[in-house]
Amino acid sequence: MTTIQVLMSTIMIPLIGTFFILLLNRFSNFRETVTLITSILLFAAVYKIFICVMDGDRSELLIFSITTGLKFSFHVEPLGALFALVASFLWIVNSIYSIGYMRGNNEPRQTQFYAAFAIALSATMGIAFSANLFTLFVFYEVLTLSTYPLVAHRADPNARIGGRIYLIYLIGASIVFFIPALLWTLILAGNLDFKMGGIISDVASPGTTGILLALFVFGIGKAALMPLHRWLPSAMVAPTPVSALLHAVAVVKAGVFTILKVVIYVIGSDHLLKTGASEWLIYLASFSLIAASVIALTKDNIKARLAYSTVSQLSYIILAAAIATPLALMGAAMHIVTHAFGKITLFFVAGAIHTSAHKTRVSELNGIGLSMPFTMLAFFIGALSIIGLPPLVGVWSKLYIALGSMEGDNSWVIAVLIISSLLNVAYLMPIVIKAFFASAPKTETTNPISEAPWLCVVPLSLTALICLILFFLPGYFESYLTDFLGPK
């Protein structure tokens, strides 16, 4: 098979999976088998593409052209392949976890859940491999719509409101900002293709570039940049596997991934550096980064705290994209990966606690580490990675972003990064400390909590382990990414 055929199959495999999931509605074991097989096949296909990209393959395929400037086309390039690889790998892990979680909590409408999940993954693949803004935009909206039933899954008033906020923020932002940005780009450049060095760099004045960047950054609501972040905490009403894979990896990363694509391939990072049109975004992203961490401190609900932490971590990537130096962009690409593994671990833990102990609040976690040692140990590792401490992978991306800011004469950003890391310590470590060092409430000594189902524990241990392993492989990242955005 050629790379392009494999590429098309990454979009088709989850869709075919959806079909069988719906078909096997009544036979839950077979249905879950289909999900697992689909996710493994998808990962294999993406891995194949990843290898081709490493060998320098940059195939492109035009499916059809709708009208002037609106084309449906795909290509393979390093950033997209990396994003797709992470998302598809974590889908396998998350599927195993989902089985444990959904059955452990007796969730209703599981067929709908797995079907929507598979469609979401298909859309994610579409985003990762789009060769132009329009194609990306189509899949971006499919991703929003396919995840809406997952957010509103519980169908109680809370979930309905959560779903409503989710749709209004995401579709609202894309209608109000993203579409105008597309139209404007089309008028300026005459096309919407992703091209190294940008397509508007020759025609856009610094002012225009700044406004256009603003339209993109706010239009891509999935990146959850303040003040358009409210949808993410409210999406936490979804079952935890959704929060874990979609609202810590696929959906939000699709947002920052799109911003990176826009910065690198549409506006052009050199153009941004030359014009300084992204100066304002550095400040805004820094603010968002710190403010979200501060809000996270005040949240007692575990998932809400993690959600604000995600908002903050996404701002790292936006910040790096705004700095736009090669090292910063490399840091941004890495952070997509490192944060994915760290944060999915934390969400898995939150879900495991919910499944076995039915607890959702930080204040209820006293002593839980003794009854759920594996789970809480994984949380500890994930938290350290998010904070950015060695020997965990989170340290590398933060390091590159810091180096990138020095390269771009924005050294003050390092102070922001340090403050933020301290805040991370302040909102994540208490959970670990409470879990292991505070004594459990009396009721629990008579009625002890057990470890979560192994289908939950294995995935979360695995992702925690990967945070550790990846720490020793920064060279791979660097050589992989240097090719296309490294220092010249």
Partner: protein, 495 residues
Amino acid sequence: MEFLQEQLPALQVVLPLVAASLCALFRFGYLSWLITLSSSILSFLVAVFLLLRVLEQGIISYEIGGWSPPFGIEYRVDLINAFVLLIVSGVSAVIVPYTQKSISARFDSTEQSWFYCMYLLVLTGLLGVTITGDAFNIFVFLEISSLASYAMIAMGRDRRGLTAAYQYLIMGTIGATFIVIGIGLLWAMTGTLNLYDLAGRLPEIKNTRPVLAALAFLTVGVSLKLALFPLHLWLPNAYAYGPSVASAFLAGTATKVAIYLLLRFFFTIFGGATFFTETPLPEILKILALLAMFAASIVAIFQSNIKRMLAYSSVAQIGFIVLGISYATETSLTGAMTHMFNHAIMKAGLFLLLGAIMFRLGSVKIEALSGIGRKMPLTMAGFVILGLSLIGAPGTAGFISKWYLGLGALEQGEWWILVLIVSASLLTMIYIGRVVEVAYFREPTDEVVQLKEAPSEMLWPAYLLIAAAIYFGFDTSFSADLARQAAVLLVNAVY
């Protein structure tokens, strides 16, 4: 065959007219339906052949009764009205297979025949208005279609249909009067009723007071027919309380033909975009269009009857189309005509699906639809897809037309209009979202639990339109590309 080809323009109108009289003659429900079905499909084929011929050889002129224009009545088909003929006859051909199930459930055999007779007369009138090249003939056909549609609306299940039809009758008649006054003034000034002839003579005297008065009368009259805000008051009730088939048919065709008239009068006979932009019309239309987009969308959000909600949505969508017209540029007119095409598909489809719900549930109140997504999955899935298209989600037809409308505004440097277009689309999302949420994320009520999926005779016509709404989101060679060619003709007043 050659002879038949020559007679295509006449057949376009004569076919449904004869069929209508046959229905009235036999008065046997099922037979009438068969007659309606075959004549609708034949009309559609005729429209397709006409379009092909126009694309091949340019304008077709047909002399009725062999009297040569400008003395006799001329049927004149160019790309613009061939496009509209196709919309009207196409929507009709899709709706008729659906009608049988929904109409036979409520009327006895004779009443059914009368319904089909009225339906065919509406079709005759609309096709006639579109195809004719004679100003007075336009008025005659407009009245044929209007009178028949009043009768059709009055046949609704709801007794309020009667008042709605009466209201429509009053407003429609005022509109028709305005139109006939406008045409009369034009005739007084030029001595001709032939549109082609008018187009030749009007530019010389375009700044005289009677001609401008004629323009004003025509604008108001046609605006009434197309339900331009604030002349839309007849529409919501008429669509809400008439039979679902009638709502689907009228929403897909009647307003579209009125828009065609607006284009024909403004551009073709008065001398293209240059004349149009000299008048105060662009500003007036733009403001009214924006008001329609917002006022009607906001009102739609607060409707409890979904048919009424969609009716207000139609008023808003007409606003989008008129907004495109007000710019009078190639891109914006492309957007307007594409939206006319796409909206016909989407709104007809939505009303058909609502008709299916009405058929099963007996109500289209929003609260009655709790959890219906689980009991009528195909119907509601279709509703979601068409709803997305109405919002303008990419990958659907609605996106393409809004894209062109937005591009048209940006080309004029009016980015704030773009902001308004997208905000109005957001309002669309809210009222569609309300229905989706109730249908999928509420527990089914006792009545809903017993429901079955809509009958297949009702589903597949709707699904044809749904497929079209998706197809035209990807392949625009038929919708937007034709619309662009038509827009070029309009801007330059080629006739």
